[in-house]
Amino acid sequence: MNPNSFLRSSTFRLALLYVALFTASVLLLFSFIYWSSVRYMADQTDAAIKTEINTLAERYEARGLAGLRRLISARVERQRPTGTSVYLLTDAGGQVIVGNIDRWPRVQAQNGWLDFNLEARSLDDVSVHPARARQFRLAGGFRLLVGQDIQELKVARLRVITALGWGIGLTLLLGLAGGFFISRRMLNRIDSINETSQRIMQGELSHRVPTDGSGDEFDQLANNLNRMLDQIESLMESIRQVSDNIAHDLKTPLSRLRQRLEALHDQPTQNNAQLPALDQAISEADQLLGTFNALLRIARIESGPQQASLCEIRLDAVAADVVELYEPLAEEKHQRLVFRAAAQPVVLADRDMLFQALANLLDNAVKYTPLGGIIEVVVAQSDDGPSVAVGDSGPGVANANREKIFRRFYRLDSSRSSAGNGLGLSLVNAVARLHRARIDLDDNDPGLRVTLTFATNGA
């Protein structure tokens, strides 16, 4: 499987879409988790600060400044040395009365809240921590500040973000890997179906789509396709059988008829006046037999690969022999028969069948090329493989009819009047299929060019 086709495959695209959707929903979910957990922690801090302020304010109202001072000192004292609470009480002029920071933070309060940086002294080092505090104005112009070192909150928030980031990365990675794996699995099975159908189109009708026995949808599809192929094959087989039987069963009585006519013809007492009529009857019987033979021959060739009779032969040598055989016939019609062999390719072929196919092509070329026309036979070796082309300068074949001319008994309207049984090209087609050769019909401007291209390596 090439990577390009993988990227273009619909399964891969589907997998990608799923990964995108999945990632988006994970992102949404994680944002919610982040928002609610971090927000909860912040709210907890704020609530604790508010409660503490209320407590302190009540103490001030009940016991006055001295009471408040004692309480704050006690709280500061209690949480040393690693406490996270911040206390500060100043008078109206900003002079510190009591607290664990040395001055009022230099930030603007928003709705009574201050966010500032705190120089935190732990046991062995000094670092800057974020802090959040609330200011409160007491009666008598005193200002109270109660806050919390929120370094913990910041760390927790970072942890959550890091965890969420990893989570999304992992989700993407797993989704992509899973999508890759699943789509590759599916693609492999579709590929095997494609490969099978291609081989079937190339004539190996007995080929079947492989199943893996899992009974999944692909297996069901494969089984259905295989059953369909079985039916097609048996239908084709029965059609072939019927036409074979017809040809075979009619051939025997026909040859008896011919034998009797011949016996009649050779009788010494035969009236001479009847001889021409008998000759004609015999030649008609011969034509019929010829048609049956051609039909049976095509059926035999098509009914299965007879690879045993294929051997390595020189394509140009066979083509040269056919040209040599037909040269006098072309000369009789004042046609120029040109043979060019640009290469000496070796193909795996049945010599007689190849000769027959080329002879049929050349026969047609001579038949349809007008007096004085040109017929070209060219043997070449291209990247596609060894090829032999027969080009005539006759009326050609319209594009619409090109597929049809390989059908049995098909004849173009323009050629119905000339001799032939409409089986010549069917035989060429059958021979080409046996050799896994490709037939191309092209415009020869004017005329038709038929090219047989063999697979490389003669296979």
């Binding site: 075979h248 051939k251 025997t252 026909l254 040859s255 008896r256 011919r258 034998q259 009797r260 011949e262 016996a263 013809h265 050779d266 000759d279 015999i282 030649s283 011969d286 037999l289 010829g290 033979n293 051609a294 049976l296 021959r297 035999r300 007879q306 045993a308 009779s309 022999d321 040599e324 055989l325 037909y326 006098p328 016939l329 009789e332 049945d350 010599r351 007689d352 069948m353 000769f355 027959q356 002879a359 049929n360 026969d363 038949k367 001799a419 032939g420 010549g424």
Partner: protein, 225 residues
């Protein structure tokens, strides 16, 4: 000639034997393989004509048993199966020629006579002569009377085959098989054109014709009577 025909279809057997008898041959008929093998082993025949599909023992087995017993009698195999694979199987089993049914009787007769002659001409003749037409096969020279005739290589092989079968009918398929060396089914008169070319070289400028067309059968090169 003494000919044994092993054929189970009575119509074909009658047709062939009548034809051969008319042509002056003596014909024995066996309608199954084992009778045929027994006859062929005990009598001296000039040619055997054996059908492939036979009751009791098939035609190919008859031929291989004869060959195993070093019987060199020329064998022509008849068969309804006319394809290349079958032909190869027939020739491998030891047959000398192979003819697919249905056949024209003329074709069969010509092949039987060619087989018999091939068997009698064990030595290779290199100087051929029919009336005043002479061929030196080794020097590749042809002359008729005093005039030298120039032939293309294929025309030479064609004439050589006709001269080697002097006085016998040779059919178009025999020519294709032996001169062109291909087994195939010509659709048109492609052989006739080659013959008429050859004829124009060896016959046209001379008062007596040597190469004749036999209607419905093939050609014959023979000395004037």
């Amino acid at each position: 000639m003494h000919i044994l025909l092993i054929e189970d279809d009575p119509d074909t057997a009658r047709h062939v034997s009548n034809g051969l008898k008319e042509a002056g041959h003596v014909v024995d008929i066996a309608d199954n393989g084992s009778d045929g093998l027994a006859l062929a082993s005990n009598e001296a025949y000039d040619v055997l004509v054996i059908d492939r599909m036979l009751p009791a023992m098939d035609g190919l087995s008859v031929v291989s048993q004869l060959r195993d017993a070093d019987n060199p009698v020329p064998v022509l195999i008849l068969s309804a199966l006319g394809d290349v694979d079958d032909r190869i199987a027939g020739l491998k089993a030891g047959g000398d020629d192979y003819l697919a049914k249905p056949f024209a009787f003329g074709e069969l007769q010509a092949r039987i006579e060619a087989l018999a002659r091939r068997a009698s001409q064990r030595t290779t003749v290199t100087q051929l002569k029919v009336a005043e037409l002479e061929m030196d096969v080794l020097a590749r020279r042809v002359r008729r009377g005093d005039s030298v005739i120039n032939l293309q290589p294929r025309e030479f092989r064609l004439l050589e085959y006709l001269m080697r079968h002097n006085g016998q009918v040779v059919t178009r398929t025999m020519l294709l098989e032996n001169v062109w060396d291909y087994h195939f089914d010509p659709q048109t008169n492609v052989i006739d054109v080659h013959i008429s070319r050859l004829r124009s070289k060896i016959d046209r400028d001379f008062p007596v014709q040597l190469l004749h067309t036999v209607r419905g059968a093939g050609y014959i090169l023979r000395e004037p009577e």
